[in-house]
Amino acid sequence: MSTICFPEHPSPVADAEALRKAFQGWGTDEKAVISILGRRNATQRKLIRQAYEDLYQEDLVKRLESELSGDFERAVYRWILDPEDRDAVLLHVAIKKTPVPDYRVIIEISCIHSPEEFLATKRAYQARYKRSLEEDLAQHTSGDIRKFLVGLVGIYRYRGEEITTKLANSEADILHKAITEKAFSHDEVVRIISTRSKAQILATLNHYKDDHGASITKHLRGDPCSDYLSALRTAIRCFTDHEKYYEKVIRQALNRPSTDEESLTRVVVTRAEKDLKEIKQLYQKRNNISLDHAVAKETSGDYNAFLLTLLGKQD
């Protein structure tokens, strides 16, 4: 469920005017920016952007970029974009990351979104970067991880709920055989995880668990631990329980000696209107501290205030 507390009768024009006021004079009234934008859903934000453009002939996004800075600016920038445009930006940043691309982002977005949402993301990517997601991803990766990711990203998965039990059984066996032979990057493993429908994959993974007593992720460990294996495990986690997956991403982002703001922002911004409430509950259960508290401890300033607002804090 969404954690955003938006007003019952928002007025995009009033909001645009209030934002304009926040930019005027010395410095910026960040509190105002946070309390307005942090409490509007995607449709409302789009209307505000339109109203601001109509009133002041200026792109609100560009104005925000110039008025704000640091982690706060990055978070607000991602928040104000349309969801598919935001995903395109996140994907591009992930692909271009050095020394290695951030595979998790690519897997999250391609595995958790519905095929139609992901298609919209691909179109937004093409519109923004004048290249396809697939060509950029293929160019910046190589070897097993490329084979896997390009497969995940290219597929237009079947969305139906039907499953073929016989196939689930035989493909669970194929996976088990590959694992016992330590042939983790075998073509068949990539084929099954990257082409089957979500329902079929879940059926296969259940069969695996029934037949072999443990979930497949426990067996997908090699020595040395490769990027490919961890990408495979990530994809499986995203399919089977993405809320649990996101809780782990946030937990790891906050536990690091220096907080991983990029990942923290990504999860909060992309899930705030979807299932951040459930992720918060999982976090509380797992860590005996509320996510709000943990974020307050590990972040500061306007960035902190913005995240807490997205997490549902009332003034």
Binding site: L119, K122, Q126, K130, R131, S132, E134, E135, A138, Q139, S142, R146, K147, V150, G151, G154, I155, Y156, R157, Y158, R159, G160, E162, R191, T195, R196, S197
Partner: protein, 313 residues
Amino acid sequence: MAASDDVESLARAFSGVGVDEQALISVLGKWHPEQRQHFRKATRDFFVEDERQFERWNDRHILQLRHEFLRLKDAIVAWTMHPWERDARLLKEALYKGPQYNVLIEIACTRSSEELLGARRAYHSLFHHSIEEDVAFHVHTPEKELLVAVLSSYRYEGPKVDEETAKLEAKTLSDVIGKKGLNKEDEDVVIRILSTRSKLHLKAIYKHYKAITGNYLDEDIEGDSRLKETVQCLCTPEKYFSQVLDASLRYNADEISKEALSRVIVTRADADMKQIKEEYHGKYGVSLGKKIEEVANGNYRDFLLTLIARSGE
């Protein structure tokens, strides 16, 4: 006795693609039993002398006749279909009947990004699987990777091309293709470029390749015909289609080649038929319409001619 002219025209009515309904009706319809017998004895191709003293239809020809009579019906049904359903059904047939992997390449590489996506959607509805998973599951030959890759593509279709990258990739391809045998890494590079780059970018690569090596990229690809077809479909589709049409219109064409005639004309009549006709005329010295008139029969012929006439002279 049956006039030899009539016998000849009837033999022709049963040959080529499609059947000449008018000839069959006007000649066969009025023949007495003795004339029909004379026809059976006179045409050794269609009939064989059975040991029990009667002229029997050659089984192979009866099967072939079935194909010829169905040609018009299949072309019309395909013509009326939504292009997405048409392509989805063609994909399924290409994968399971034959198989004809060249058709998979043809559809994946000559359709626009949205058209290919539509075909994949229709495939979901019709067959409850994605084409990607079916190809990945059913193909066990080395071409599998290329096939899945091109079928999964969603290419950028805007005007922007990075000429520097295109030049670099043309150089890379010329290095790889020059080698004696392609290893896995080389194959991966070729597939990456061919399955992810935009068509404009690939056409730029084609141009730079010619500038660097003096040869055309598809002509330099020996042996691996799927790879060759992929390059042709992506960079010079009119050339590819006119070659397929030429093969379908030969007198000794097999059934699979003949089916290509309907497929190409029905699927390209509203797309690039004009350019295909120009390319065909330039390459084979005869207009496509003229050749179809020569080789095809009856209503089927008329239907094809009507379709190709839609794109002007």
